[in-house]
């Protein structure tokens, strides 16, 4: 319907002149009928990473972690149980255990770090663990499911507390 007319290109020229004259490096304008966004060359790159597809990013991140099965699996940051994903409010969180392997809960249930109420914990921060070492119990439907480590290394963090409910895929331990 609309075309690039003389007036439009004229307007664009004047706009660019005006921006240059005012030493503006980057410019965005939005009107019902027109949206313009531009950046002049010779500028230092700017930090804010908008415009990147968050979903794609999450997938990349998972791949980079050599991480678990799910296609859209989010970056296994500590997620509170009741936290409903809010599509419009993506909170950018930074993972302090980015380099570590994350042992996740394979089932929904209740987390226990000890084999019995008054026993010693299976593992503590600082312990070295091998693949297959039992790290905790997740109780589901009265069954005590022992969760084994799927990586070797040092326990650098325990994400959950004794008796805390955990959901599928929730981060339990960071192993480095």
């Amino acid at each position: 319907m609309a075309r690039m007319e003389g007036k439009d290109s004229q307007e664009l020229k004047e706009l660019v002149e005006f921006l240059k004259a005012n030493g503006i490096a980057e410019f965005e304008m939005e009107r019902p009928d027109l949206k313009v966004s531009l950046r002049f060359a010779g500028e230092a790159p700017v930090a804010a990473a908008t415009g990147i597809d968050a979903g794609q990013m999450a997938a990349l991140l998972v791949a980079a972690q050599g991480g678990g099965g799910g296609v859209a699996a989010p970056a296994a940051a500590p997620v509170s149980l009741a936290a409903a994903a809010a599509p419009e409010a993506p909170a950018v969180e930074v993972d302090p255990y980015a380099g570590a392997h994350i042992v996740k809960s394979p089932i929904v249930g209740t987390f226990y770090d000890t084999p019995a109420p008054d026993a010693e914990p299976y593992v503590k921060v600082g312990d070295m663990v091998s693949v297959g070492k039992v790290l905790c119990i997740v109780e589901a439907m009265k069954l005590m499911n022992e969760i084994e480590s799927d990586a070797a290394g040092q326990i650098v963090h325990v994400f959950v507390k004794r008796g805390q409910p955990v959901e599928y895929g929730q981060a339990l331990f960071a192993v480095k």
Binding site: G70, A82, A84, E167, Y168
Partner: protein, 452 residues
């Protein structure tokens, strides 16, 4: 009333149940697979728990995961929606054992109705009209041949454990029966791990008519009238209506009585649907019972004014039917539902993906039940239903015109949907006449091929 209900489902029906709970002041717990993390049922529930990877069998159909989620959330009841675990009697039993109220009929009845041949016998005993057919399972080919002779060809072979058209064969003569028997039995064995078959009289041009029922846990039963569901493609319903133009008030009242008696006999409770075939003469025959809320429950809600999901919750919480629906509702006006599926409107291939534009129609007499939104993703793992568009008018003509208006304002981009298909159907003379049967879609698509 319950304090906190876990909804063991996804998509529009999960959001439907969440909305009903919210309106009743009940807290809600959503469960979700990793593919549904950004779904609206997750967002709008009070709590949400991830129960597994995308595949249904590992998440929504994973009984221990669902029960465990209910336990850690401290839910006191579970609503199963439709599909998924809704007609899984074992799940209902585990709920009972876990001290969770299952919002649906008792597992014994679900099991009874789940076996089609048993259901048939049960309904026959309760004096519900059934299609002439075998008394239960066919022992072998020989028995099948004998039954077919006494019923008269054509006959239909059906899997006892069946559903979705698998293990079904139409048999028109003595000669072709043995081969078809083997095929159907084999197919049923593969699909349901049970090759047992039964036989029914085959109606060439049947209508699919079903009755919505509510029953409390004290033996009180009410029929909320019928729905016309003949617009199907490959046994998948596309369009449903209430009331049916073919059911007279007298027939409706009589069926109401028969249903009342039979469900009381069986010990049924909560919501359910009894499906019938109507032959060319207007006689109706029981085919099966669905022991859950159905996709198309909305058209009954629109004409009766009864909120069926709230009724389910109140029944399960022990309320009496008389307090929920004080008197037999009249059917007011006419309601039609279109199932908006993420699929190609001509090739019928699934069309999962990201929705880029999503403009939902509104206005007078238009209801949309959906859990989709602009920028939302339709995952490839589940059924293709993305929305139900329901229109209510003072008569069928107004409801159809309203539907055409609403379809023209329902804009979905990024994926294919069945909206253009519905627009073609609503412009079709046979559909508009109301004189159709379950073979309508075959004829309609054939007409389109010829016209093109």
């Amino acid at each position: 009333m319950f304090r906190k209900v876990l909804i063991a489902n996804r998509g529009e029906i999960a959001l439907r149940v969440i909305s009903a709970c919210k309106e009743m002041g009940i807290r809600t717990v959503a469960v979700y697979s990793e593919a549904d993390r950004n779904s609206l049922h997750v967002r709008f529930a009070d709590e949400a728990i991830c129960i597994g990877p995308p595949q249904s069998r590992d998440s929504y159909l994973n009984v221990p995961a669902v029960i465990s989620a209910a336990e850690i959330a401290g839910a006191d009841a579970v609503h199963p929606g439709y599909g998924m675990l809704s007609e899984n009697a074992n799940f209902a039993e585990v709920c009972r054992a876990s001290n969770l109220k299952f919002i649906g009929p008792p597992p014994e009845v679900t099991r009874l109705m789940g076996e089609k041949a048993t259901a048939r016998q049960t309904m026959k005993k309760a004096k519900v009209p059934i299609l002439p057919g075998s008394d239960g399972v066919l022992e072998n080919e020989g028995a099948a041949l004998e039954w077919a002779q006494s019923i008269g060809y054509p006959v239909m072979l059906k899997a006892v454990a069946g559903g979705g058209g698998r293990g079904m064969r139409i048999c028109r003569s003595r000669q072709e029966l043995p081969a078809l028997f083997q095929q159907a039995s084999h197919e049923a064995l593969n699909a349901f791990s049970n090759g047992a078959l039964y036989m029914e009289k085959f109606i060439e041009r049947p209508r699919h008519i079903e009755f919505q029922v509510l029953a409390d846990e004290y033996g009180h039963v009410m029929s909320l009238g019928e729905r016309e569901c003949s617009i199907q493609r490959r046994h998948q319903k596309l369009i449903e209506e209430a009331p049916s133009l073919q059911i007279t008030p007298k027939q409706r009242e009589e069926m109401g009585k028969v249903i009342k008696r039979s469900l009381k006999d069986i010990g049924y409770w909560n919501a359910g649907t009894i499906e019938f075939l109507m032959d060319e003469d207007g006689s109706i025959y029981f085919i099966e019972m669905n022991t859950r809320i159905q996709v198309e429950h909305c058209v009954t809600e629109m004409v009766t004014g009864v909120d069926l999901v709230k009724a389910q919750l109140r029944i399960a919480a022990g309320e009496k039917l008389i307090d929920i629906v004080p008197k037999q509702p009249e059917m007011i006006g006419h309601a039609i539902e279109c199932r908006i599926n993420a699929e190609h409107p001509e090739k019928f291939t699934p069309s999962p993906g990201k929705i880029t534009v999503y403009n939902v129609p509104g206005g007078n007499g238009v209801r949309v039940d959906t859990a989709q939104y602009a920028e939302g993703v339709v995952p490839q793992y589940y059924d293709s239903l993305i929305a139900k568009l329901i229109c209510h008018g003072k008569d069928r003509e107004e409801a159809m015109n309203k539907m055409q208006r609403a379809l023209s304002q329902f804009i979905v981009q990024g994926i294919h949907t069945s909206i253009p298909l519905h627009q073609r159907i609503f412009a079709d003379e046979e559909f508009r006449s109301g004189q159709f049967d379950t073979k309508f879609m075959e004829r309609f698509l054939e007409r389109e091929r010829e016209g093109a």
